[in-house]
């Protein structure tokens, strides 16, 4: 899918995922950490069922930017490595695709904490 339709779908799918997140925030007593975890797990389950890749094909950044894509990436790496290395691959593969994101979060989080402090 290209061009204008892609933008529309990115807008709709990305917006819908955020809409689910906002509903969970407003209608339940879940903490932000719970809501994030639910979205990550949902992305992981969708990928396990083979549904997240088609969603990325349709919606592009609308599906890759929300945190659900992190769940998708966790499962993706585990599936790929398990095909290559068997059961050990599930363990080694989980952070295969996501390692860049996790390392960046740690490193930049550390650097930011050296420079900034909370403004209240």
């Amino acid at each position: 899918m290209h061009g204008f339709t892609m933008y529309i779908m990115a807008f709709l799918v990305g917006g819908f995922i955020c809409f689910i997140g906002q509903l969970l925030m407003d209608l339940t007593k879940l903490t932000p950490a719970h809501v994030m975890t639910i979205l990550v797990v949902a992305g992981a389950i969708l990928d396990g069922l083979g549904l997240y890749d088609p969603l990325i094909k349709i919606a592009g950044a609308g599906a890759t930017v929300p945190i659900t894509s992190f769940g998708n990436s966790l499962v993706h790496g585990a599936l790929i490595e398990s095909q290559r290395d068997g059961i050990i691959g599930i363990i080694t593969g989980i952070f295969e695709v996501t390692s860049a994101g996790i390392s960046a979060a740690i490193v930049f989080g550390f650097l930011a904490s050296l420079v900034f402090r909370a403004r209240g």
Binding site: M25, D26, T31, P32, A118, G120
Partner: protein, 336 residues
């Protein structure tokens, strides 16, 4: 002396001899901003943590109150103070430099009137000549103790409160000028089963109504006997509930019924949610603004019902309900 079931009457007419109020930037930008003794714009107040900043606020408010009372700290028989942090570190650590006896008190956001009530009683009975009563809260230290640190970036619903950054102190003693403290009605703990820490206004409203009704029954006074009746920090969600509960019991409070949490901020200020909360809310509004109203003859007699939600971070995590309490103190102008 005991008057009715839960009310102390102070026949020797102890007075508020001096007040000290200090608030943060957001409170300074509110409608009462120019009524406070000092507005600090640095959330750290020159310290390296929010907890130390709160301590600084407490110390400064206490100093100001003693100064304005025309006394020295040596003339204070006893300090009564309280705050929101665990083990009341603000009160205890601030007292390190004073060298005066300390009574620490806690009833969350109702601590201000608890401290004033005990202070007035000690002065009235002659167990103290001058009492310094003070409370504090800091938005950022309270957020990280009770909810989420600011860095976490959690969303809050519109029913939430904004914990007031500030400290309020009064010197209570016997003198010839200053608002007279005539009655204090001590509240019962009431818990109607609300367990959502974002709904503290609703949780505290029944406690406020209960203490007010008890005050009217114990003293024989009616709402009309007061020019102003202010709850502590029910804010825009809880205050109408308290009004409704009182109406159900036959008390029509009308225009004189207000709330320190509503008075503290303008509705249009960002991130104030339903209004202010924290011990400093009722304290700063009462000591900085309402008592001034008595001296400036805007009011003759006022009643402040500070409201406290007695939850702890642990009780919240264990999903327990929120017990609440409200303490009322009546302040009056001389000769009334």
């Amino acid at each position: 002396m005991l008057c009715g079931q839960q009310t102390w009457q102070f026949p020797s007419r102890p007075r508020v001899l001096g007040t000290g109020t200090i608030v943060g930037e957001k409170e300074g930008q509110g409608p009462l901003g120019d009524r406070f003794d000092l507005v600090v714009t640095d959330p750290y107040v020159g310290q390296n943590s929010f907890e130390k900043a709160e301590r600084k606020l407490m110390e400064e408010a206490q100093k100001t109150a003693v100064q304005k009372a025309g006394l020295t700290i040596e003339e204070i028989s006893m300090v009564i103070s309280g705050d929101l942090l665990a083990q009341n570190i603000t009160s205890h650590f601030a007292a390190r430099t004073q060298g005066r006896p300390l009574l620490n008190v806690f009833s969350a956001c109702a601590t201000s009137m608890q401290a004033v009530a005990i202070g007035a009683q000690l002065v009235d009975t002659g167990y103290a000549s001058n009492v310094l009563a003070a409370v504090s809260s800091h938005n950022s230290s309270a957020e990280r103790a009770f909810r989420y640190p600011t860095e976490y970036g959690a969303q809050k619903p519109p029913t939430a409160h904004c914990t007031v950054t500030g400290a309020g102190a009064v010197v209570i003693g016997k003198g010839s000028t200053g608002p007279v403290i005539t009655y204090a009605t001590l509240g019962k703990v009431i818990d109607l089963g609300i367990d959502n820490p974002w709904e503290m206004g609703a949780a505290m409203a029944p406690a406020a109504a209960d203490t007010l009704v008890r005050h009217f029954l114990d003293t024989g006074r009616k709402p009309q006997d007061y020019d102003l009746i202010a709850t502590g920090d029910l804010a825009r969600v809880g205050h109408p509930m308290a009004r409704h509960l009182l109406k159900e019991q036959g008390y029509e409070l009308g225009e004189r019924f207000t709330d320190c949490g509503i008075l503290m901020y303008d509705e249009t200020q960002s991130e104030v949610f339903s209004g202010g909360s924290g011990p400093a809310c009722a304290a700063c509004v009462t000591f900085g603004y309402l008592l001034l109203g008595l001296m400036e003859k805007r009011y003759r007699r006022i009643l402040v019902v500070a409201t406290g939600a007695l939850l702890s971070p642990v009780s919240s995590q264990q999903k327990d309900t929120i017990p609440c309490i409200a303490h009322a103190v009546a302040f009056e102008r001389d000769g009334e």
